[in-house]
Amino acid sequence: MTDRIDLDQVRAIIRLAEDTGVADLEVETPALKVRVRRGAGHQSSEEGTRVVPFGSVTPPVAASPAPGGDDHLVPIVAPMVGTFYRAPSPDAQPFVKEGDQVDEGQVVCIIEAMKLFNEIQAEARGRVARVLVENATPVEYGQPLFLLDSAARS
């Protein structure tokens, strides 16, 4: 363990907050705790409707093992019925890509339900092994969205 702050990590977190458009992002690792807060009221979708996240949504436990999954592959499942979006807006970068390292609580996608945009967070840390759902498609309750490789180390 080192006492020195890893500036690259902090930059990455700030970039993540900017890219995703979240107003408030807190990341905690054993060595570091960073909280990024950005000005509110700038978020809007294309149609001009206000984006109202439900806040943190705890995804349900997947009923079945992940498709084609090894033991260390855990699914992130849809906690509600809705339309799956990989990015906060059509021209933005996706929240996560295959190979990305995600932390517990990190936003990985959005599910739009009843005109509300719900940010879905990873329940555990790991590497995104697979994205299972196409952008902008309907997802069922409990449908696996991503496979996380919990054993992978960055």
Partner: protein, 450 residues
């Protein structure tokens, strides 16, 4: 006509609605909970979507998930079945706000009939007979005593928001009134979060008789005869028949006219049922209106030949009623037995589990509506109804004999069911004579001898 209908329900009624849609050439969307992944309605529908975990609050009652499914899959109507969201005016309103047709009455009609004291006031204004009692809510003892002078004793205190016997008290003497009022208010507050109660004359040994109506948006309204649902246990109907046995033609006509007025006064559209209490002298009093399709609708279908669920869908699609009152003719007699996964020998305790064998009856005059099959596991999360057996006969005696024959044929292995109870009722001499009333089961059926 609609292209695609979402069925917001499960079990036998989901199957019933899917069948009606198939006959009308409409595509269907089933929704299901994680506990119903292998359910029959999921297999039968053209599309199926999981909407939540086993607990119905998070699945079959989950309005956001159901509406998201409806919007994403592009349905043009939602059929709520019975139970779950069928009588939730907010749901009906949300559905119509999304430019999706709700297969049921307008939200306003559901709302009026959902509040018992409001419904009663409406009915009184329309000249529909109601049980003598208080004008709306009773708050204090003085008011209660005043109402009691008009109704006489015994009287019954009931919860305004209530049902299922909670918040109810029968009072026989003025001395007991104050205490009973307080208990009923407290019980009602605890059960429904609403302590409002009202008072009615207590009708002893009543029959439960209900009139089925159908109304289109253009003001046409017909009734399809009546059903007797007196065979109940703890306010749960177990056996229903149409027409009601031993009821004078004159009474039946008066009830039908009252039911039509009741529906008209609230601007009712679609299928609905007006329930009456009928005493030994055949005085009939409005009890409530069920603003949905009912479990026992097949007995009416059997004696009228009209497919009520298809009519519901047609009406919701804006079509006119194809029948007039003159076209409706009651032919023969029909009985329905509700087969529940319950053990009648042990106080009707639930008996969920694996159906090792499930072989429904058939033959002339027998219809079985069910979502069960051999190898199906009845989940413990939902109601215990596993099948409805409907027997039709040229007269009541033939219907009773056919039902008896059909229930004896019905093979169900792995769980306990209410079939032994039904056989006992069918064999009962009082039942055979048509002497039924809502406490028939309590008085005439000894559960220890099933």
């Amino acid at each position: 006509m609609f292209r695609k209908v979402l069925v917001a329900n499960r079990g036998e009624i989901a199957i019933r609605v899917i069948r009606a849609c198939q006959e009308l050439g409409i595509r269907t969307v089933a929704v299901y909970s994680e506990a119903d992944r292998s359910a029959l309605h999921v297999k039968m529908a053209d599309e199926a979507f999981c909407i939540g975990p086993a607990a119905s609050v998070q699945s079959y009652l989950n309005i956001p998930n159901i509406m998201s499914t409806a919007e994403m899959l592009g349905v043009d109507a939602i059929h709520p079945g019975y139970g779950f969201l069928a009588e939730n005016p907010r749901f009906a309103e949300i559905v119509t706000d999304h430019k999706i047709a709700f297969v049921g009455p307008p939200a306003r009609a559901i709302e009026v009939m959902g509040n018992k004291s409001a419904a009663r006031a409406f009915m009184q204004r329309a000249g529909v007979p109601v049980v003598p009692g208080s004008q709306g809510v009773v708050t204090g003892e003085r008011q209660a005593l005043e109402v009691a002078r008009a109704t006489g004793y015994p009287l019954i205190i009931k919860a305004a928001a209530g049902g299922g016997g909670r918040g109810m008290r029968v009072v026989h003497t003025p001395q007991d009134l104050a205490a009973a009022l307080q208990t009923a208010q407290q019980e009602s507050e605890a059960a429904f979060g609403d302590g409002q109660v009202y008072i009615e004359k207590y009708v002893g040994e009543p029959r439960h008789i209900e009139v089925q109506i159908l109304a289109d948006r253009y003001g046409s309204l017909v009734h399809l005869g009546a059903r007797d649902c007196s065979i109940q246990r703890r306010h749960q109907k177990l056996l229903e028949e149409s027409p009601p046995p031993r009821l004078r033609e004159r009474t039946l006509h008066a009830m039908a006219r009252a039911a039509v007025r009741a529906a008209q006064v609230i601007g009712y559209v679609n299928a609905g049922t007006v329930e009456f209490l009928v005493d030994a002298q055949e005085n009939h009093y409005f009890m409530e209106m069920n603003t949905r399709i009912q479990v026992e609708h097949p007995v009416t279908e059997a004696v009228t030949g009209i497919d009520l669920v298809k009519e519901q869908i047609r009406i919701a699609a804006g079509e006119r009623l194809v029948v007039t009152q003159r076209d409706i003719e009651i032919r023969g007699h029909a009985i329905e037995c509700r087969i529940n996964a319950e053990d009648p020998r042990h106080d009707f305790r639930p008996s969920p589990g694996l159906l090792s064998r499930f072989q429904p009856p058939g033959g002339p005059g027998v219809r079985v509506d069910t979502h069960c099959f051999s190898g199906y596991t009845i989940p413990p999360h939902y109601d215990s109804l596993i099948a409805k057996v409907i027997a039709w006969g040229r007269d009541r005696a033939e219907a009773v004999a056919r039902m008896h024959r059909a229930l004896a044929e019905f093979e169900i292995g792995g769980i306990r069911t209410t079939i032994p109870f039904h056989l006992k009722v069918l064999d009962n001499a009082f039942f055979r004579r048509g002497e039924v009333y809502t406490n028939f089961v309590q008085r005439r059926i000894d559960p220890s001898r099933l």
